[in-house]
C-alpha cells in the first residue's frame, strides 16, 4: 500500500505529494474535451464590447479567437466532454468509482442563478427559495452518465488550476483506496455572459474537459505533481500587478521543484503541455526554464484561447492526436490559477 506523505507544509506552501516511484502506474488513461461550436475573433469580440485591451496587443500575444457557449450551460458542456470520453474510449462505467467535478468560477459550482425571487416577508428562509444553491452539477452528471458506483466531489476555489488539483487528488485517492480503480475528472467553465473576455493579458474561451485517472493506466503515468498556493494574493482584482510580478519567479520555482521530484531535468521533457495563456508569456517562461519554443505546445492558443481549467487536457488531447507524443515521452504540464495557485505535473506517456 503506497503511503501519501506531506512533503512540505508551511504557512505559504501547501504541497501534498507522493514519491515519484510509488510503485503504482496511476495515470491519465483517457481524455476528451468539448468546445462550443460558436467562435468569435478578437475583432468580433471588440465590436461586441467584449474586450478591454486592444486587438493588436492581444493578437501580438498570440490570441486569435475564442469559443462561446452562448445558451449552453456549464453542465451541458461537461456532459458533452464526458460523453465523448466514454464514446471514444473503452471504459466500463462500473469501473468509475468517483467523479471529481472541478470548476474555476464559483458560479460554475452550483446551478444557482441569482437573483430569482424575493424572500418572503415573514423572514423564514424556505429551501425552495434557494434550492438551486443545493443543486450540484456533479450529482446530475453521475446520474445522466449512468455511473451509479461513482461518488462525487466538487473541486473549486483554485481557479484555472482546478483540473490539476482534481488529477492530483484522483491519483491520491486511487493510491489510498484499494477498491477504487478509476476516477473521472470533469471540468467545465462558462465565462459570465457580457463580461469582457480579456483577463490579465489573456483571452477567455468557454469549454469543458474530461479525463479518466486509472490504476494501471496504459499511458500518461503521473510521475510527479506540485501545487503552490500563495494565499496572500487571494484578491486578484486589487493585486493584479503583484500577481503578474509573482507569476514568473513562482512558475519557474514550481517547475524546477516538480522536475526535481521526478528526478528529471528539463532536457528530459519531450513536450511542455501549457495552459493557453499568452504565447508571449510562454516565450518568457520557456527561456526561464531553459525549454526551446518548439517543445512548448502553443498551437491552441490562437484558435481556442484560454478555456480556464481545460487547456492542458485539450492540449494533451490534440498533441496526442497529432502524433506529437510518443510512448515513454515525459510531458510537463503547467498551469496557474487565481487564488493564487501554480501547478505542475509530469506525465510519462
Amino acid at each position: 500500500m503506497p503511503t501519501t506523505r506531506l512533503l512540505e507544509i508551511d504557512s505559504d506552501f501547501h504541497l501534498l505529494d507522493m514519491t515519484a516511484d510509488s510503485g503504482y502506474d496511476i495515470g491519465i488513461d483517457a481524455v476528451a474535451t468539448y468546445l462550443p461550436a460558436a467562435t468569435a475573433s478578437l475583432a468580433e469580440l471588440a465590436m461586441r464590447g467584449l474586450l478591454r485591451g486592444s486587438v493588436e496587443t492581444l493578437s501580438s500575444f498570440g490570441f486569435g479567437q475564442v469559443h462561446l457557449a452562448g445558451e449552453q450551460s456549464n453542465f451541458q458542456m461537461a456532459m458533452h466532454a464526458a460523453e465523448k470520453l466514454f464514446s471514444e474510449n473503452d471504459i466500463d462505467r462500473d469501473e468509475v468509482g468517483a467523479i471529481l467535478y472541478s470548476t474555476a468560477l464559483s458560479s460554475s459550482a452550483t446551478m444557482w442563478n441569482p437573483p430569482r425571487r424575493k424572500l418572503p416577508g415573514d423572514g423564514v428562509l424556505r429551501l425552495d427559495e434557494i434550492d438551486d444553491l443545493f443543486k450540484y452539477p456533479a450529482s446530475r452528471l453521475q446520474s445522466e452518465l449512468d455511473l451509479p458506483r461513482a461518488s462525487v466531489v466538487g473541486i473549486n476555489q483554485i481557479g484555472c488550476a482546478s483540473t490539476f488539483a482534481a488529477l492530483r487528488i484522483a491519483r491520491a485517492m486511487i493510491a489510498g483506496e484499494e477498491d477504487l480503480d478509476a476516477v473521472l475528472c470533469v471540468s467545465a467553465d462558462k465565462f459570465p455572459p457580457g463580461e469582457p473576455r480579456d483577463l490579465v493579458y489573456n483571452v477567455i474561451s468557454d469549454g469543458a474537459s474530461a479525463a479518466l485517472v486509472r490504476r494501471n493506466a496504459t499511458r500518461n503515468r503521473i510521475v510527479a505533481c506540485t501545487q503552490v498556493t500563495k494565499g496572500a494574493l487571494w484578491d486578484g482584482g486589487s493585486l493584479e500587478n503583484e500577481i503578474v510580478a509573482a507569476y514568473f519567479p513562482t512558475a519557474k520555482s514550481v517547475i524546477d521543484r516538480t522536475l526535481s521530484k521526478a528526478r528529471l531535468t528539463i532536457g528530459d521533457i519531450s513536450l511542455v503541455i501549457p495552459h493557453n495563456v499568452s504565447a508571449r508569456s510562454w516565450e518568457i517562461l520557456g527561456k526561464l526554464i531553459g525549454c526551446p519554443p518548439h517543445l512548448i505546445y502553443t498551437e491552441n492558443i490562437e484558435c481556442v484561447g484560454h478555456t480556464i481549467a481545460s487547456d492542458n487536457i485539450l492540449n494533451l488531447e490534440t498533441a496526442t492526436a497529432e502524433g506529437r507524443i510518443s510512448r515513454g515521452d515525459y510531458l510537463l504540464l503547467f498551469t496557474f490559477g487565481y487564488g493564487l495557485n501554480w501547478a505542475c505535473m509530469i506525465l510519462e506517456h
Binding site: K230, L233, A245, F248, R280, K287
Partner: protein, 371 residues
C-alpha cells in the same frame, strides 16, 4: 592656515556627509552654494547638521549650477569667493537616471564647466575635487581602472552615466591647470555603522519594489558583482584624500574586488525583509529571477505593451540601471588603496552592513517616516 572651502551639493546624499565632517573643523570656513529655491535653505542645512558640534564658520550662498557663468551668484559674492577659496569641492549634480540627456548635461556638464572656471579664478586654490561615478564606464565589461576613461564605445545605460562621462572630459581638460582630484563613486547605500540612509536612490527604490513584490526579474548571473559603498567610507576617504593628496588623481571610492554578488545581495534582501518585517513573510514573495538580457527585454517589452501604469513604472525604474547588471565589471581601486594605505580608511564588506540598510528602509518606510 585657515581653509576656505567652496562646497556644492551640501544638501545631497554625499555632500551632506562631507558637510557634517567639515562643519566640525574649527580651522575651516565653509561657503556652501545652495540651489536657489525661493525659500530659506538654512533649516535644511541645520537639520543635516543635527548632532554635530559645529566649529566651522558656515556661509550659505544662493545660486544655481545652471544659472550662468557666475553660478547664479551675485558679482560681489562671486568675486569675494574667488579671492578667498582655497578648496573647491563640487558635489552638486543631477543624479536622476531618467532625465532627458539635455537636462542631465545642463547640470552635470555645463554646471561643472562653470565650477571649473570658478576654480580657475580662485587666487589661493590648493585643490579642486569633483565627484563622478564609476558608471562613466557605461556598458563596458571587465576591469575598469582608475586610469581608464569613458565607455570605450560601448554606450551608456542612461543619460546620467553619459552626462557624467562628458563631465569627466571637461574636468580632464582642466587637469593641466588645476590641482584636480576626481572621485568616482560606486553606489552609495547608507551609513555602515548605523544603517542610516540620507538619500534614497535607485538601489533603495529597487529594494522597495522587491518588498512590494513588483520586481520579478533582473538581468545578470548570480555571481555578477554589484559595487556599493557606505556613505561614511566615501566621506572619510574623500576628505582624507583632499587633505593629504598632493597633485592630481583619479580615485575609485568603490568596493572593487570585494563587491558583493547580486545573487548574495538578493538573498540578503529577502532575509533582511523577513527578519525586520516578519509579517512580510506571509506575502510569499519570491526572490527575483536572474535572467539573460534577452529574457529581461522580452519581459520589459511585454509590460510596456500590456501592463498598467504601476507595473510599467516599476519595470521602468529598475530598467534605468538594470542593464548595468548585464555588463558585469570590476572597478579597480589600486590607486585609492595605495593613497589610503596608512589612514585606516577602507570600504567595509557590504554584506556586513547591508541588512541594517534594509532595516532602515523598512522602518523609515523609505524615508516617509522618521526613525
Amino acid at each position: 592656515m585657515r581653509r576656505n572651502i567652496f562646497l556644492t551639493g551640501a544638501t545631497g546624499t554625499v555632500g551632506s556627509e562631507l558637510l557634517r565632517r567639515l562643519a566640525a573643523r574649527d580651522d575651516t570656513t565653509l561657503n556652501l552654494l545652495v540651489r536657489r529655491t525661493g525659500y530659506d535653505r538654512r533649516p535644511q542645512i541645520d537639520y543635516g547638521l543635527r548632532g554635530v558640534r559645529v566649529a566651522a564658520t558656515l556661509n550659505l550662498f544662493d545660486g544655481d549650477l545652471c544659472d550662468g557663468d557666475a553660478l547664479g551668484l551675485s558679482p560681489d559674492a562671486f568675486n569675494s569667493l574667488t579671492r578667498t577659496t582655497t578648496h573647491v569641492i563640487h558635489c552638486g549634480g543631477s543624479t536622476s537616471f531618467a532625465l532627458p540627456l539635455a537636462e542631465s548635461r545642463a547640470t552635470n556638464v555645463t554646471g561643472t564647466a562653470r565650477v571649473l572656471r570658478f576654480a580657475q579664478q580662485c587666487e589661493r586654490l590648493e585643490s579642486a575635487a569633483f565627484f563622478s561615478t564609476v558608471y562613466v564606464s557605461g556598458m563596458r565589461r571587465g576591469i575598469f581602472a582608475e586610469s581608464d576613461f569613458g565607455d570605450a564605445g560601448n554606450g551608456f545605460v542612461n543619460s546620467y552615466e553619459r552626462s557624467k562621462a562628458e563631465m569627466e572630459e571637461v574636468v580632464r581638460a582642466a587637469i593641466a591647470d588645476l590641482p584636480i582630484l576626481l572621485f568616482r563613486l560606486s553606489t552609495v547605500i547608507g551609513d555602515s555603522r548605523t544603517g542610516t540612509v540620507h538619500g534614497f536612490n535607485a538601489l533603495h527604490h529597487a529594494i522597495r519594489l522587491l518588498y512590494q513584490g513588483l520586481a520579478p526579474m533582473v538581468p545578470g548571473m548570480p555571481s555578477t558583482p554589484v559595487d556599493m559603498v557606505s556613505s561614511d567610507y566615501v566621506a572619510e576617504a574623500a576628505l582624507h584624500l583632499i587633505d593629504n593628496q598632493a597633485g592630481c588623481g583619479v580615485f575609485h571610492l568603490a568596493s572593487g574586488e570585494r563587491a558583493a554578488a547580486i545573487g548574495d545581495l538578493l538573498s540578503a534582501t529577502i532575509e533582511s525583509l523577513m527578519r525586520f518585517r516578519p509579517t512580510w513573510r506571509k506575502r510569499s514573495i519570491e526572490k527575483p529571477l536572474l535572467v539573460d538580457l534577452d529574457t529581461y527585454e522580452l519581459f520589459v517589452r511585454s509590460v510596456e505593451e500590456a501592463g498598467n501604469d504601476v507595473l510599467r513604472n516599476a519595470t521602468r525604474s529598475i530598467r534605468t540601471f538594470a542593464y548595468q547588471l548585464a555588463h558585469p565589471k570590476v572597478f579597480a581601486t589600486r590607486q585609492t588603496s595605495e593613497a589610503l594605505a596608512d589612514s585606516g580608511i577602507a570600504p567595509r564588506p557590504v554584506l556586513q552592513f547591508y541588512p541594517q540598510i534594509v532595516k532602515y528602509c523598512v522602518e523609515s518606510n523609505w524615508g516617509l517616516q522618521r526613525c
